[in-house]
Assembly symmetry: C2
Homo-oligomer: 281 residues x 2
């Protein structure tokens, strides 16, 4: 496994790999790897000849009041996990290499970026789209792996890849959960014991929505109310949003038809967690 | 020479060329080719193994009041010119293939895009940056050729290529002028005989600025005043802007040091012409 920070070196290596006719699978991450990330990496190893993982905590996707500074950076552990999975290349750039002085170019996916998480995190998805564009150009992968946990992010990147004609195929992999149903997230590390326990309510809430829809409930308002009641029973939970949306457009459904994406963002203390469940009737 | 409109076919062909280890030179155009374009194409033929010219009148870079509909489209003549220069591939996409329903992603180079032409053509450079991003992803050239006539556009694309790590080298080629000094432009075709004659004043004005600077004039205000007087002597000329700027940042100079870019936009009737001259002391 090679670990490279220098953009030019990565570019040279990637071009060499391409010339050899090998396919490249790419998993962009902010580090603090968990089983969710590892599931993407394993898929990249299965699908392609050369698996690249980037570890870069992207400042452009954090708001001024957000957790950029305290975002976990367990680099040694991350590298050990990647080594175990036989990752071929870790791309580990410095912030000043990715955003040098005078940096001025941004990619924006309008519409999808302003709703749900975008409404509460202005500029967040612009930062995501911009860094992913850069990484795609640096790594030039054949396959890009994203997690369904960040459903909105995955949709935005798929839209961007299509709109801007990036020559890459995107695979969105299922949410990985712990035994209590909590979706794995690097931010779970912020939670104390009681918050961790309370956060189990999120998957219970999504599962409740699933049961309601499967039993014929077609009114999103009813579902949202039930979920909200369930979550607000937890002392430390503060709902950011709960929404029942079209899985492609993310527009709120007025009535549930053949499928729905139920998604939510809830704060426990200072820690904001997101989760979602796609439900087909 | 192959002429292809279909994105997937172009992509397949380009990938084949790449696999053969050939280099690709790319000249993006809106058609209505003149000697300016041809100078870029000749350079692409000299530098690379496979020269691609795109002909696409990009609606996203025209304002609602601009000349999208009447923009000249002498396709047969364009194709004949390209054939003569042994262009390898003409990429000739349809608008609905480049901007299908639901298209939502835009690339913006902040700062550089808002000044000069950007101030009078809001959204113009966002449209340019977006379509060039798409074309770079579709064609994946090794070398990209731009004309210095559109100085601001060239700077913006260079900035974008650097900021977003596109794996392409950009060559900006000199302005090509007719025997009277008029910079070649597809829009010159709109001018009637008297306007064509009056438009010769633009290069005279730039040349006057050069003489003034070479004779020690360091005050941009004085130069702009002189140029303006000269241009406004012409009955049909209406100045959009005249500026003496830093050639990299496009910020107006307060005092001229070692170099300056003198640039201007002037309307003759409904036709807006731009020109510029880089002056080193």
């Amino acid at each position: 496994m090679r670990v490279i920070g220098d953009l030019k070196k990565v570019n040279l290596l990637v071009r060499k790999i391409k010339r050899e006719g090998k396919s490249i699978g790419f998993v962009p991450t902010m580090g603090a790897l968990h089983e969710g990330h590892l599931s993407l990496i394993r898929q990249a190893k299965r699908d392609t000849d050369f698996a690249v993982v980037s570890i870069f905590v992207n400042p452009k996707q954090f708001g001024p009041q957000e957790d950029l500074k305290r975002y976990p950076k367990p680099l040694k552990k991350d590298l050990a996990l990647c080594r175990k999975l036989k990752v071929d290349l870790i791309f580990l750039p410095q912030v000043k290499e990715i955003y040098p002085d005078g940096f001025a170019t941004f990619v924006n996916v309008f519409g999808l970026s302003e709703m749900l998480c975008g409404a509460n995190r202005p500029g967040h998805f612009r930062g995501v789209a911009t860094v992913v564009t850069k990484l795609l150009n640096i790594i030039s992968p054949d396959l890009l792996y994203l997690g369904q946990k960040d459903a909105q992010q995955a949709l935005i990147i798929c839209r961007m890849v299509e709109d801007l004609n990036f020559p890459v195929k995107v695979k969105v992999m299922p949410v990985v959960r712990d035994e209590d149903g909590l979706a794995l997230s690097s931010r779970n590390a912020y939670l104390n014991k009681s918050q961790l326990k309370e956060a189990q309510v999120l998957f219970k809430a999504l599962s409740l929505a699933k049961v309601m829809i499967e039993h014929g409930q077609t009114n999103p308002g009813r579902i949202i109310q039930k979920i909200q009641d369930l979550i607000q029973n937890k002392k430390q939970a503060k709902v950011d949003y709960i929404a029942v949306v079209d899985p492609q457009s993310l527009i709120s459904l007025k009535q549930i038809g053949s499928e729905a994406l139920v998604c939510l963002a809830v704060k426990f203390g200072k820690t904001r967690l997101i989760d979602n469940l796609r439900i087909r009737v």
